[in-house]
């Protein structure tokens, strides 16, 4: 009796085998590009690796006009020699033109609704037509999808751009206290370059671009100093520079409500390691004076950046989070128009620097 039951059980376990899908019969979507299209539609590009030995190319690009990812996937399906698998996606590329006009979240809703899709694909903005980027010949690089993923990962590790996966992107858009931001790409002569961070408004449409220096400051302000952040101090002119790495940042945010708006003071104490001292300037060789100079410069840069954000009514740093945490009653009243209120706020940044290390050579003294 018992044996029979076991046999039935074992057979039941085979039920999952009905879902079998051979890898040769699939078209794995590694990169999806979305650009503005014709007649109220969007242009979708997909890149997938080709596993066949006979094919001379190692990857293929497909292009369709559609309204949504799901619809595009259906068209891709009837264009390729297998069924399209969307679950392995590595990167979603949105063009700048598209982001200027459209909210991206509804277009890529499919990736969030389907439990099988990966939450770790990067969302990036490309400064130009996606067509150029996705058809870019990169014979000296690995498969485009993998290459793009590695490029973004290392850019984030070097603290030059933000880390924006599908999951993080949606989280930032849905939050009432923060506006989203994503990495920005451009093509240059030798391939692709990460140019910094693209700032979006609370709906996800494009507002502003930061270069990698300002991106680093944004990363410092958003508490993302996991690896040393590069920072360059320019003296007098651009030829005389002191470059350094910033690490171990400690933050102290204070919020004060005054007359319907919030005032913030951000104290950041950081450790600095000098990497390069290219200057004749005597002051820069004095530790105390150099510290002061870095602090002033950083304060200026950070406050300029925040001003710039306030003018655009965006809050990628998430000052709203501090307002909500420390002044909840007052926050509740202006919750829905926070970004408006933030543009009226006064923000003081007070960096405190300690130069921990000059490297292994002494700054040249006279």
């Amino acid at each position: 009796m018992v044996k029979k039951w076991w046999i039935i059980c074992c057979v039941l376990v085979l039920a999952g085998c009905g879902d079998v899908l051979d890898i040769e019969d699939t078209v794995v979507m590694l990169v999806l590009g979305i650009d503005e299209g014709k007649e109220e539609k969007y242009t979708f590009y997909q890149m997938s690796p080709v596993f066949s030995i006979e094919a001379s190319e190692k990857s293929q690009v497909l292009e369709v006009q559609a309204n949504s990812v799901r619809e595009a996937a259906q068209y891709f399906d009837v264009m390729s020699n297998g069924s399209v698998v969307t679950g392995k996606i590595q990167a979603v590329i949105l063009s700048k033109k598209l982001l200027e006009k459209e909210e991206p979240l509804p277009i890529i809703d499919y990736f969030y609704r389907d439990a099988r899709s990966s939450a770790n694909a990067y969302v990036v903005m490309y400064n130009g037509p996606v067509d150029d980027l996705i058809r870019l010949e990169t014979p000296d690089k690995p498969r485009f999808g993998i290459f793009l993923n590695n490029l973004l990962k290392s850019a984030y590790q070097n603290e030059t751009t933000a880390d924006t996966t599908l999951a993080l992107f949606r989280k930032r858009v849905e939050q009432k206290t923060v506006t989203p931001y994503i990495p920005e790409l451009a093509t240059v002569k030798d391939g692709i370059r990460v140019t910094g961070i693209a700032l979006l408004n609370e709906k996800g449409t494009y507002v502003d671009s930061l270069d990698i220096y300002n991106s680093a400051i944004l990363l410092i302000l958003t508490r993302q100093v996991n690896e040393p952040v590069p920072f360059i101090l320019e003296l007098n002119d651009a030829e005389q520079v002191v470059s350094m790495n910033i690490s171990n940042a400690n933050y102290d945010y204070t919020v004060k409500e005054s007359g319907g708006t919030f005032d913030f003071t951000v104290e950041i104490s950081m450790d600095v390691t000098l990497e390069e001292v290219v200057t004749e300037n005597e002051e820069a060789k004095d530790k105390k004076k150099l510290t002061k100079m870095i602090e002033t410069e950083m304060e200026k840069k950070a406050e300029e950046l925040i001003k710039r954000m306030q003018e655009q009514k965006i809050d990628p740093v998430g000052f709203g989070l501090y307002a909500r945490a420390y002044e909840y009653e007052k926050w509740k009243k202006i919750e829905d128009k926070w970004f408006e209120v933030f543009s009226q706020s006064t923000v003081n940044v007070k960096p405190k620097i300690e130069i921990k290390d000059f490297g292994i050579i002494e700054s040249a003294k006279q």
Partner: protein
């Protein structure tokens, strides 16, 4: 009665059965349910819900202590007489059966959405139900051993839930108590329902070897449950935020989705597969206890045949009526409301009646 002779359970087994019943499908949705009503201080609602459930548990044990050899079904017949007692016992049977139906269908629904979207529905019903019946037919002691085994086999899960904390924003927990107790109390209403499950003590008490420790046991079970709920809720609150959390249907699984390895893209499937065992420690006792109830009502000796009949009925219902996600949560809502009366209000009345009856009997003597 020698029914409990070869079926007695140790204190640990008693703890783990109760804990197993409490920690089930609720954990996957709890953070979202709390966030929807209780705002940032939602986790305080869990603590209050914990205290309420402790009081409820102690009332149940106090009732059962009066007649230590009786399960709830015996006690009902003893207290209310043959017919009314059987009627109320039937209400309990209905409660347990609907419970096992809800757990079965929810399990399958989750499996369909997250793991096996294209597998035939009735196959999944059998896949889940077969092991349940296999374990349930062996009685209370085997269930105790099973729950204990599953508890230790799933001990690694809380550790995995620490991984998403690398993206945590601890400021999301502030302000603690925003001066608004109404939100917290609204949250308590949700959390009380998640703690339901300690009512199985009604059945387990006579099987417990060392009955003096029944209070201690149910206290520990509730405490473990509370810790599990707190960990998951706080993790979800700091990793997601209140705005985003309310969009996620199964936040606990969404929490694990970003974890991936070079050789394993979707870690949540592994987690979910093992979690199916944890869910079964709710479904199996419910299935057994409803069959024990029917056995009692029709006064048979062996519960196994009743169990088979119930399981077949369960399978047929689950296959014929495959509710959508919304309907399922609506049914679940009605069921837990029903459970609230049965588990918090009914034992209190029962306690009074049992005590009065005892007093009267003493006077007669």
């Amino acid at each position: 009665m020698n029914r409990t002779m070869f079926n007695d359970i140790t204190l640990l087994q008693y703890i783990f059965i109760i804990n197993g019943v409490q920690v089930g499908i609720g954990v996957l949705t709890l953070p979202r349910d709390i966030a929807a009503v209780a705002q940032t201080s939602g986790w305080i609602s869990i603590l209050i819900g914990y205290v309420v459930s402790l009081i409820g548990s102690f009332i149940i044990i106090t009732v059962m202590k009066q007649h230590p050899k009786d399960t709830i079904y015996d006690l009902l017949v003893r207290t209310f007489g043959k017919w009314i007692g059987r009627l109320i016992a039937f209400v309990w049977v209905v409660y347990f059966s609907i419970g096992s139906y809800i757990i079965l269908t929810t399990t399958i629904r989750i499996l369909v959405v997250w793991v096996l979207p294209e597998t035939l529905y009735f196959l999944l019903v059998f896949l889940v139900l077969f092991p349940w019946v296999f374990i349930a037919r062996n009685g209370v002691r085997i269930i105790g051993r099973y729950s204990q085994l599953i508890f230790f086999l799933t001990l690694w899960m809380p550790l995995v839930l620490l991984v998403p904390l690398k993206d945590a924003t601890w400021l999301n927990l502030l302000p603690i108590l925003d001066g608004n107790w109404n939100d917290v109390l609204a949250g308590v209403k949700t959390t009380i329902f998640s703690f339901l499950g300690f009512e199985v003590a009604f059945i387990l008490y006579p099987f417990l070897k060392d009955q003096k420790k029944a209070y201690l046991g149910i206290f520990i079970a509730n405490t473990i449950t509370c810790i599990v709920f707190l960990q998951i809720t706080i993790t979800c609150f700091v990793v997601f935020n209140l705005d985003y959390l309310q969009e996620l249907i199964w936040p606990t699984l969404s929490l694990l989705k970003p974890i991936s390895f070079a050789f394993l893209e979707r870690f949540e499937i592994i987690f979910l597969s093992v979690y199916m065992f944890q869910i079964s420690t709710t479904g199996i006792p419910f299935l057994l206890f409803s069959s024990l109830g029917v056995t009692q009502i029709v006064s048979w000796k062996d519960h196994q045949y009743v169990l088979y009949v119930l399981a077949v009925l369960l399978a047929i219902t689950a296959i014929l009526y495959d509710p959508s996600h919304d309907t399922l949560s609506a049914i679940g809502g009605v069921w837990t409301n029903f459970g609230f009366w049965l588990i918090y209000v009914f034992p209190l009345l029962l306690l009074i009646i049992v005590l009065v009856k005892k007093r009267l009997k003493k006077k007669e003597n």
